[in-house]
């Protein structure tokens, strides 16, 4: 009897292993963008309701992460970046990951419906479905457009946050969605430029694998140009402001410069310096998104002070 327990203990799943299934790092980004979506909305939300709603949105994102790890265990096992995840590492069984993902999905959507409103809950349910089913089960393995369309899943949280406050959708929440949606391709393609071996090995049809790095570099530049337009347009909605405008002008100039740099570069140069520019661009993309949402928050906090100049609301 006791022998059986001793033999199993190497596989004994701990609390931390189940927590890792929720992709805590992705969750922190979801918490942040959803909180900004909620806080910049023109309707005030009770702090307890707001806090609980953000928590349930994060839980929903975590649930979809667990479902993703269940379905993708075979891919994760061959990629260096993901091989230590709980399922490929054997600490959590795929079945348990699936059960946890499904139950947390139901719990998070149900609790958001009771805490906030049915519209926000419906949007959260759609987000989970989109990430776990549309992206993970279909797009990821079948098309190089996987992260372009799949990026929508990551772009929904600020929209859900906005829906918690307002109960609906509007141009401002669509712009926040668009900002993350268009940001995702250059962000991931920069990663795939220096992680190409991993994706090739796992058979994931990333753009770098199917069309080569030249096409990827072209696409990074193309999406970065569109991103600059979206980011600038957001400044002239009701959630934009002078702080956001300043941040977006500086960061888009840097991001465009980085994208042009990557576009001009040949692979031989990249290999020579171990993809230093690609890594730099990837890190900048993280700063880019964080700073844009932080600036929206600052402008929301400063709004109402007479000394703040207001931008014309065009959209």
């Amino acid at each position: 009897m006791s022998d059986a327990t001793v033999n199993e203990y190497g596989q004994d799943a701990q609390f931390d292993d189940y927590f890792a299934l929720l992709k805590p790092r992705v969750m922190s980004l979801v918490v942040f963008t959803a909180a900004v979506g909620l806080l910049v909305a023109p309707v005030g939300v009770n702090p307890v309701i707001g806090f609980a709603s953000i928590l349930f949105i994060a839980l929903g994102a975590g649930a979809s992460g667990a479902l993703n790890m269940w379905w993708d265990a075979d891919i994760d096992a061959v990629m260096k970046r993901t091989v230590k995840r709980p399922v490929p590492d054997g600490r959590v069984t795929p079945k348990n990951a699936m059960i946890m993902g499904l139950w947390l999905s139901v719990l998070s959507v149900g609790m958001l419906a009771l805490t906030a409103n049915f519209f926000a809950a419906g949007l959260l349910a759609f987000t989970i479905f989109f990430y776990a089913v549309v992206y993970t089960m279909f797009l990821k393995r079948s098309t190089p457009q996987n992260i372009v369309i799949g990026g929508a899943a990551g772009a929904f949280p600020p929209m859900v946050g906005w829906a918690v406050a307002t109960g609906g959708v509007s141009i401002e929440s669509v712009m926040m969605f668009a900002l993350i949606f268009v940001w995702t391709p250059p962000h991931f393609w920069a990663l795939s430029l220096f992680m190409n071996d991993d994706y090739t090995k796992a058979g994931v049809p990333m753009l770098t694998v199917t069309h080569g790095t030249r096409v990827t570099r072209n696409n990074i530049l193309g999406y970065t140009v569109v991103l600059a337009l979206v980011a600038l347009g957001t400044a002239f909605t009701s959630i934009g402001g002078p702080v956001y405008l300043a941040v977006t002008l500086v960061l888009n100039a840097l991001f465009l410069r980085g994208a042009i740099g990557l576009w001009r570069r040949e692979d031989s140069a990249a290999e020579a310096d171990k993809y230093a520019d690609e890594r730099k661009f990837f890190r900048l993309s993280l700063v880019y998104l964080f700073a844009h949402f932080a600036a929206l928050l600052v402008d929301a906090a400063l709004r109402g002070f007479a000394f703040m100049p207001q931008l014309p609301v065009v959209f």
């Binding site: 006791s2 327990t5 001793v6 203990y9 004994d12 701990q14 609390f15 009770n46 307890v48 309701i49 609980a52 928590l55 009771l114 805490t115």
Partner: protein, 66 residues
């Protein structure tokens, strides 16, 4: 066989159990806080319960009285 002998496994499980307990306790506290906020805001905590309830649909009583 003597019970009560501690294996490293028990220590690890204890930690996991305490963490899970804290999470569940936090969830209960959160639901309680939400309930208080909703009731303080004047929301009705009554819902449909398979029978006619005039308290959540006063119009129905008025219709029946006619």
């Amino acid at each position: 066989m003597a019970l009560g002998k501690e294996h490293p496994l028990h220590g690890r499980r204890k930690r996991s159990n305490l963490m899970l307990g804290a999470v569940l306790g936090g969830f209960v506290a959160l639901v309680f806080a939400i309930t208080i906020v909703k009731m303080a805001g004047g929301n009705s905590m009554e819902g449909y319960d398979h029978t006619i309830r005039y308290s959540i649909d006063p119009e129905l009583k008025a219709t029946e009285a006619e």
